[in-house]
């Protein structure tokens, strides 16, 4: 057997094995990278094509809550009380309004809770709610209790009105 031929073949084999084990690039991985880049470029092109206006990207929900940069918690509560009081005018009799306990949360917003007692007709109750909503803020009603008053055509309504204040 020709030793020279054997030597050449073995040398090539050793080079081939080492190349495969240490230097050969993973073509699957390269193809995946190419696909990812192509996808990202296509997304970028789509963004450019759509010409998205800044206004489109504004959620606009911030105005539904009190602005924490302008109003402290107490100021916001005061504002809420003011809104509730004004909303009851010409509709319900506000018999009691009480601030609920100051909350402590780790959330990006504070809950502003106000316990309210009213006397009104069913129609006036909804007038009150409608006037409350005219303020373009989010009000959530909790713990609602409506009782029919004795000897009167009115309702006694207890509720907790909750608004929100952005704190960060």
């Amino acid at each position: 057997m020709d030793v020279k031929k054997v030597f050449i073949l073995l040398t090539v084999l050793v080079i081939c094995i080492n190349y495969t084990n240490y230097f050969q690039q993973d073509s699957e991985k390269l193809y995946r990278t190419i696909e990812n880049l192509k996808m990202k470029i296509a997304q970028g092109k789509e963004i450019q094509k759509r010409k998205i206006q800044k206004e489109e990207l504004q959620v606009g929900a911030d105005k539904l809550v009190f602005d924490g940069t302008k109003l402290s918690y107490s100021e916001a509560m005061g504002k809420l009380q003011d809104i509730i009081t004004k909303s009851t005018q010409k509709s319900c009799t506000l018999t009691k309004i009480q601030w609920a306990q100051t909350p402590s949360t780790n959330l990006w917003y504070d809950r502003l809770r106000m316990n309210v007692s009213l006397q009104c007709t069913p129609k006036d109750l909804f007038s009150f709610i409608n006037r409350l909503k005219e303020n373009n803020k989010l009000f959530v009603i909790n713990n609602l209790r409506v009782l029919r008053m004795r000897n009167k055509e009115k309702l006694y309504v207890k509720m907790q009105v909750m608004a929100y204040r952005k704190n960060r």
């Binding site: 963004i47 959620v59 909790n142 409506v146």
Partner: protein, 335 residues
């Protein structure tokens, strides 16, 4: 492929009438080379200067002697083909095939034990043959069927059988040596070529990635502002979705109150005395002289109400009943 081999003379079918057949039983299954066959079994031939083909199936050795000089590397006896096909079709029997001559095959216990030709069909000879091998079943095959049997047998000839009938002995050591001798340079070249192709392919992919990366970075810089806005928008949307999921769990109590008022029809004598809505729990006191079930059914039809229970019902002095309903609301995300 077999047709191709036959066409280009790689396979020769040795005619039935040109062979002398002899069968033997070996003590154990062995591999017989051409030389071994000649040394051990040429003595069974009726003539001198003759060629031999052997085929071992289990311990059964089939020998075909022939005089013709054939250069094909593979020689398959016709009687073998006929035996394989006829055994598959009819099992053990004495087969009489009518063609230019009468071809007689005797298959016993699944093996070909005798094969010969005769010009004249002699009943006495057949009787002796069948008695010798204790075969009672005799099958006559006409010329048309014979052709069909032959075609079918050739088609079903396996690669392994073709290999067994090859006429050259392969010395694996010599072959390996030869392959190594002649294959070292081509193999080396092939490996180097493959590495080179692989390297070029990898480099081209790499350069494509570089090009795409440049494009992507340029585009990213161009879209930086809008991308930031989109990210902020997505963040805001997520934030508000979480807010809604946390704060607005159940239907608004005023909507609940409004819908509860609607369960009393205008002319019905019923009054809501007390309604309380606390997150998902609603308690309702109704004064009426009607059946409590009427209002229960109406309440059940409100889509966001999960369950309605009549907690109690008692009669007042004026004849009216006070019915207390307990209602559970469905979470908003289930609606």
């Amino acid at each position: 492929m077999k047709k191709f081999l036959l066409q280009y003379n790689f396979i020769t079918i040795l005619p039935f009438e040109e062979t002398f057949f002899h069968a033997l039983t070996l003590p154990k299954k062995i591999k017989l080379s051409k030389e071994l066959l000649k040394i051990n079994y040429l003595k069974y031939s009726p003539r001198k200067n003759i060629n031999i083909i052997g085929h071992v199936h289990k311990k059964h050795l089939m020998l075909w002697f022939y005089t013709k000089n054939i250069t094909s590397p593979i020689i398959v006896p016709e009687s073998f083909l006929l035996y394989k096909e006829l055994k598959k079709r009819s099992g053990n029997a004495l087969f009489i095939i009518k063609s230019s001559v009468y071809k007689i095959l005797i298959v016993k216990d699944g093996y070909l034990v005798s094969a010969f030709t005769t010009q004249i069909l002699d009943d006495e000879m057949l009787s002796i043959s069948s008695d010798e091998f204790s075969i009672s079943n005799t099958i006559h095959i006409d010329e048309i069927e014979y052709k069909e049997v032959f075609q079918s047998a050739f088609k079903s000839l396996s690669i392994e059988e073709i290999y067994q009938f090859n006429q050259f002995d392969l010395d694996t050591k010599t072959i390996a040596k030869k392959v190594f001798e002649y294959g070292a340079y081509p193999l080396s070249f092939l490996l180097v070529f493959m590495m080179l192709v692989n390297y070029i392919h990898g480099s081209s992919l790499q350069s494509q990635i570089e090009r795409l990366k440049e494009n992507y970075i340029a585009q990213r810089d161009k879209n930086k502002k809008i991308s930031q806005d989109i990210r902020k928008h997505n963040k805001d949307v997520k934030k508000w979705q979480e807010f809604v999921n946390k704060e607005l769990l159940y239907t608004d109590p005023l909507t609940v109150l409004n819908d509860i008022y609607k369960i009393i029809k205008p002319k019905e004598k019923a009054t809501l005395q007390d309604v309380s809505v606390n997150e998902k729990d609603v308690t309702l006191k109704l004064q009426t002289n009607l059946s409590p079930v009427i209002f229960l059914n109406r309440l059940s039809k409100i889509p966001y109400i999960q369950t309605v229970i009549i907690q109690n019902s008692f009669k007042q002095r004026n004849g009216n009943k006070i019915i207390t309903y307990t209602i559970a609301l469905k979470p908003l995300k289930e609606l």
